[in-house]
Amino acid sequence: MLYVKELYKSYESGKNKYEVLKGIDFHVAQGEFVAVMGPSGSGKTTLLNCISCYVPFDKGNIRLGGMELAGLNEDALASVRNTKIGFVFQDFMLLDGLTIRENILVPRIVQGKVEREAEKQAEQLASMFGIGHILDKYPAEISGGEKQRAAVARSLINNPLIILADEPTGNLDSKSSWAVIETFNNAKTQMNATIFMVTHDSFAASFCDRVILLKDGAIYRQLEKWENRSVFQDQLLDAIKEMSSV
C-alpha cells in the first residue's frame, strides 16, 4: 500500500541546514494500523507531512497504492490528497464556519458536487463514531474528542487508501483519546482502512499492529504486535527506554 524508500528531508534556517529525515525505508500493508513513535525532533511529523505531500522532500521515493508521488504536479498532488489520503491533525483543523456534517463532507465538496449518497455516507460514519447527534452543531459547540472523531470521519469520507494521523490524541483527555482510538479501530475492522499514525502516547500506539521507532531522522527499530495489547505496550515502553539510553 505505502512504500517509503531512502527518504531525505532537510530544513534550512539562515546559513544552517538541518537534516530531519536521513534515508527512511519502510512499507505499510493494506489494512495495517501502524504507529510512528520517537522523541521530539526525531522527524515523525516531517515524515508524515512528506507522505501526505504537505511539504516537499529532498530525495527518495514514496509510492502510495502503486503511484509514485515524487514528480507529480500540483493538480495531481491535490488529487492524491483528496482521494487517496485522509488526514487527521492534532488540533483537528475543522472549519469553524461549517457544521460538523459540512466539515465531514468538505473533501467531497472539494471534489465537486455533493450527492445524496455522500450525505448518507457522512451520516453513517458519524453514527459509527458516535457523533451522529452533533451533525448540525458547529465546532465551537462540541468537545475536543468529538471534534477529533469528526476529523476522522472527514478523513474517511472519500474512502482513501490510507489515513495519516498526526498525534490525533495529543490534545485530548484520556476518555476522548480512547474514543478516538476506538474510532480508528472501527475504521480498520469495519472498513479495512489502512492507518499510519504519529504518536507520543504508548497507550494509543499499543492498539496498532506495528510501531516504528524513529530517532534522529532514522528508523531505530520496528516492533510488531504478536501478543495482547498490554504486553505490546510493555514491550514498547522497554524499547523506548532502551532507545533513550543509547
Binding site: N49, L98, V106, I109
Partner: protein, 702 residues
C-alpha cells in the same frame, strides 16, 4: 441535510462566518480610499489651486504631506490585507490539505478579495467627496466663510484614487496568488502563528537614533542654507538625501522602543519581560508601522502648527500698528481725499483724528542681485537699477510717523520692522535712479529706521535727506510718485465703514495699478532694455483682479493693499481661510490615518498574541496583569510615535523660526506656546483613541 452542495456555496458560507475578519480589511480599505480621494479632491480642487501659489512653499508642503499620507494609507491597507490573509491562510491550508487544488481554490479566493477590495475601495473613493464636502462646509458654517471658499472639484483628482484603487485590488490579488502558489501546506496552515521578530541591536541604538535624528534635521535644513550663503549655488536635488539620518534615527528610536523599552531594567531584569518579548517577536512590522505613524503625526503637526505661527504674528502686527487706517497710492490715481473719507465716516457715525499725509517717490535702487551662471550656479553682482524703492524725505517721514529723523546728505536710512526681520531691506545700494530722467544719486547705507507699517516684505522703503530727495525726484511723473495717508478713529471703529472705505479705495484705481506687489517696474524696465522678457509679464501668478477685491490673492498681493486694522483683524481668518482650512484638513486626515494605523497594529498584536494571553490565563495571570500587558503593548504603538512625531515637529518649527533671523521674537515665543497647547490637545485625542483600542482588544481577548 447539508445546505452546501458545492464549493461556491461552501466558500460563501465561510465568508459569512469570517465577516468579522473581513470587516477590518473593509474598514481599512474604505478609510484609505476615502482619505486619498478626499485629500486629492481638495488638493486639486480649483478652490485650493487658486489660493496656493504655484511653486510656493505652502503648495509644496501640501504635496509633501499628501505623499506622506499616501504612504500611510499604503502601509495600513497592505497591513490590513496581511491580517486578513493571516486568518484566511488557516482556512486555505485546511482546504489544500483536504485536496483542494490551486485551480479549485483560485476562483473563490480571487472573487472574494476582488469583491472585498473593490467594493470597499469604490465605496471609499465615492465617500471621499461627501466627506470633504461635509468637513469643508462645517468649516464654513462654524469657523469662517468667504467667497474664496466656494468648493469646486476637478474630477481629474479621481485619477489618483483610481490608481490607488487599482493598487489595492492588484495587491490583494497578488497576495492571494502568492498564498495559492505556496507548496508547503503546513506553512500555510500555521501562518497565523508565525512570528516576525526583529533583529536585535544593543541599548545604544536609542540614544544614537536621537542623535541621528538631530543630525539629519540640522544637516538637511542647514546644507541648502550653506549652499546659498557660502557657495552661491542652488542646492542640488540630491541634497534632500541629507535628511536621510532623520529616517535612520527614527527607525533606531522605534527599534529601541520595541526591543528594549526606555526604562532601566538593571534592578529588575524580569520586569515587563512578557510584554517586551511579545513586542520583540512582532517587531518587524511594529517598527515599520511606528515609523509611518510618527511621520503621519509629524505631518499633521506640521500642518496644524502653520496656523498659530502665521496667525499670531499677523494678529500682533495688526494690534500694535499705530494707525487704525494706513494706506498709500499712486499719485495719478483718483483716490478719495480726506473730505470724502470723512464724509463717508459720518455716514457710519465716525469722526477721525491724527490725520497724516505725505508724499513719496518710487525710484530705482541699486543692490546685490543673484546672477545665474547656469542652472546650478550663481554669483552675487551689484546691479545699479536692481528694484523699486519707496523713498521718503526726512520731512515726509516725520509727518507720517511723528518720529524725528536726521539723514546725512549722500546717505540713506532703510526702513525695517522693530525686530529687524522684514525682508525688503537693502544695505548695499550705491545709488538711486530717477526712472524718468535717469538721473542718479550716489548714496550709501547709513543704518536702519524701525517702523512696521513702512517695512514691507515686497518693496524696499528708504528715507533720504530733504535736499537729496528734492534733487532726485525732480522730473518724476505722477506714476512714479505716491502718497501715504494715515488716520485714527475718534472712539470705536466700525467694520462696516472699513469695508465700505476699502471697496471705495479699490474702485478708485485704474487698470495700471492692477498688479501685485511683486511686480517690479524697475526690474521690468531694466530687463526689457537688456532685451529680456520680464518674468512678471509671463507668469499667471501675478495676475489679480479688482473684481475679486475680497479674495485671498488680491488682499495678499495687491501692490496698494491698505492696512485697515479692523478690516484685517476681522477678515484675517477669512482671507487666509482656504489656506488655513486646507492645513486644518491635512491635520485631520493625517491624524485619522495615523490613528487607523495604530488601531490596526494593536489589533494585529492582539490577534497574533491571543495564544500567549490564553497561556498566561492558564498559568494563573490575574485580570489586572493581563490588562497591564495589553496596555503595555498598545502603549508602545501609540506613545513613542506620538511623542516623537509631535515634539520633532515642534523642535523643527522652533529651529525654522530661529534660523529665519538668528533669534526668537516675542510673537514667535507666543506661537510656540500655542503649539505646545495644541500638542496637549492632540495628546488628549490620541489618549482617547488608545483607550478605545485597549478596550476593544480586551473585549476580543476575554
Amino acid at each position: 441535510m447539508s445546505q452546501i452542495k458545492n464549493m461556491k456555496q461552501m466558500e460563501e458560507k465561510l465568508q459569512r462566518a469570517d465577516w468579522k475578519q473581513s470587516r477590518l480589511y473593509l474598514f481599512c480599505n474604505f478609510m484609505a480610499l476615502m482619505i486619498i480621494s478626499a485629500y486629492s479632491a481638495l488638493m486639486l480642487s480649483p478652490t485650493v489651486q487658486r489660493v496656493f501659489p504655484e511653486g510656493g512653499d505652502s503648495r509644496k508642503q501640501m504635496y509633501m504631506i499628501f505623499v506622506m499620507t499616501l504612504m500611510g494609507c499604503v502601509v495600513f491597507t497592505i497591513y490590513a490585507l496581511g491580517l486578513f490573509f493571516r486568518h484566511k491562510s488557516g482556512q486555505l491550508g485546511i482546504l489544500m490539505a483536504l485536496g483542494a487544488s490551486r485551480r479549485r481554490l483560485a476562483p473563490g479566493l480571487f472573487r472574494e478579495v476582488i469583491v472585498l477590495s473593490g467594493v470597499s475601495a469604490v465605496a471609499g473613493t465615492i465617500a471621499g467627496f461627501p466627506f470633504v464636502w461635509m468637513i469643508w462646509h462645517a468649516f464654513r458654517l462654524l469657523l469662517v466663510d468667504s467667497s474664496d471658499m466656494v468648493l469646486t472639484f476637478d474630477f481629474r483628482c479621481l485619477f489618483i484614487s483610481l490608481l490607488f484603487l487599482l493598487m489595492v485590488v492588484g495587491f490583494a490579488c497578488l497576495t492571494a496568488w502568492r498564498y495559492l502558489k505556496r507548496t508547503n501546506i503546513m506553512e500555510v496552515i500555521r501562518e497565523e502563528h508565525i512570528n516576525e521578530s526583529v533583529k536585535e541591536l544593543g541599548r545604544w541604538c536609542g540614544p544614537v537614533g536621537f542623535l541621528a535624528l538631530l543630525a539629519g534635521a540640522v544637516l538637511g535644513y542647514g546644507a541648502p542654507v550653506a549652499c546659498h550663503r557660502w557657495f552661491h549655488i542652488y542646492p542640488p536635488a540630491w541634497m534632500s538625501v541629507l535628511y536621510a539620518p532623520v529616517f535612520v534615527g527614527l527607525y533606531m528610536v522605534m527599534l529601541h522602543t520595541v526591543v528594549h523599552g526606555w526604562k532601566s531594567r538593571k534592578k529588575n531584569p524580569y520586569k515587563n519581560i512578557i510584554s517586551r518579548s511579545m513586542m520583540k517577536f512582532q517587531g518587524k512590522q511594529t517598527v515599520n508601522n511606528m515609523l509611518v505613524i510618527t511621520l503621519l503625526i509629524a505631518g499633521g503637526c506640521f500642518a496644524i502648527f502653520y496656523l498659530p505661527t502665521n496667525g499670531i504674528s499677523a494678529m500682533f502686527r495688526y494690534a500694535s500698528q499705530p494707525y487704525d487706517y494706513f494706506y498709500n497710492y499712486q499719485a495719478d490715481q483718483d483716490v478719495p481725499g480726506r473730505e470724502e473719507v470723512e464724509a463717508l465716516g459720518r455716514e457710519y457715525g465716525l469722526s477721525f483724528q491724527e490725520w497724516k499725509e505725505c508724499g513719496y517717490v518710487t525710484l530705482g535702487i541699486g543692490g546685490n542681485d543673484m546672477i545665474e551662471e547656469d542652472e546650478q550656479r550663481y554669483h552675487i553682482e551689484y546691479v545699479p537699477m536692481q528694484s523699486e524703492a519707496k523713498v521718503l524725505s526726512e520731512d515726509a517721514y516725520r509727518v507720517i510717523t511723528g518720529l524725528e529723523v536726521d539723514v546725512k546728505p549722500g546717505t540713506y536710512l532703510n526702513l525695517t520692522n522693530q525686530e529687524e526681520t522684514a525682508l525688503g531691506t537693502n544695505e548695499s545700494a550705491k545709488e538711486f535712479t530717477n526712472m524718468v530722467t535717469r538721473r542718479q544719486l550716489r548714496t550709501e547705507f547709513a543704518g536702519y529706521l524701525h517702523y512696521d507699517l513702512l517695512a514691507t516684505a515686497d518693496t524696499t522703503c528708504c528715507v533720504l535727506d530733504n535736499g537729496d530727495y528734492a534733487q532726485i525726484s525732480e522730473g518724476l511723473t505722477d506714476d512714479w510718485r505716491g502718497r501715504f495717508a494715515a488716520f485714527n478713529v475718534d472712539g470705536k471703529d466700525s467694520y462696516s465703514f472699513a469695508n465700505a472705505f476699502y471697496h471705495l479705495f479699490v474702485s478708485s484705481f485704474d487698470e495700471t495699478c492692477e498688479r501685485t506687489a511683486y511686480y517690479d517696474r524697475v526690474q521690468k524696465i531694466r530687463e526689457n532694455e537688456e532685451g529680456q522678457e520680464y518674468w512678471g509679464d509671463t507668469d499667471d501668478y501675478v495676475i489679480i483682479s479688482y473684481e475679486s477685491a475680497d479674495s485671498f490673492a488680491f488682499r495678499s498681493f495687491w501692490v496698494y493693499q491698505p492696512d485697515f486694522r479692523i478690516l484685517n483683524q476681522n477678515d484675517y481668518l477669512r482671507n487666509m481661510a482656504v489656506m488655513f482650512m486646507m492645513f486644518l484638513f491635512i491635520f485631520i486626515v493625517c491624524m485619522i490615518t495615523a490613528m487607523v494605523v495604530c488601531y490596526t497594529r494593536c489589533q494585529s498584536i492582539a490577534l497574533n498574541n491571543r495564544y500567549i494571553f490564553d497561556d498566561l490565563k492558564k498559568l494563573g495571570a490575574s485580570p489586572a496583569f493581563l490588562d497591564k500587558e495589553v496596555r503595555s503593548q498598545c502603549n508602545n504603538v501609540f506613545k513613542v510615535p506620538s511623542l516623537v512625531g509631535m515634539f520633532a515637529m515642534f523642535l523643527l518649527f522652533a529651529m525654522i523660526l530661529y534660523a529665519n533671523d538668528g533669534r526668537m521674537v516675542m510673537t514667535e515665543w507666543a506661537a510656540m506656546g500655542i503649539c505646545l497647547c495644541i500638542i496637549g490637545l492632540i495628546g488628549g485625542f490620541i489618549y482617547a483613541v488608545y483607550r478605545a483600542a485597549v478596550n476593544t482588544i480586551k473585549r476580543q481577548l476575554w
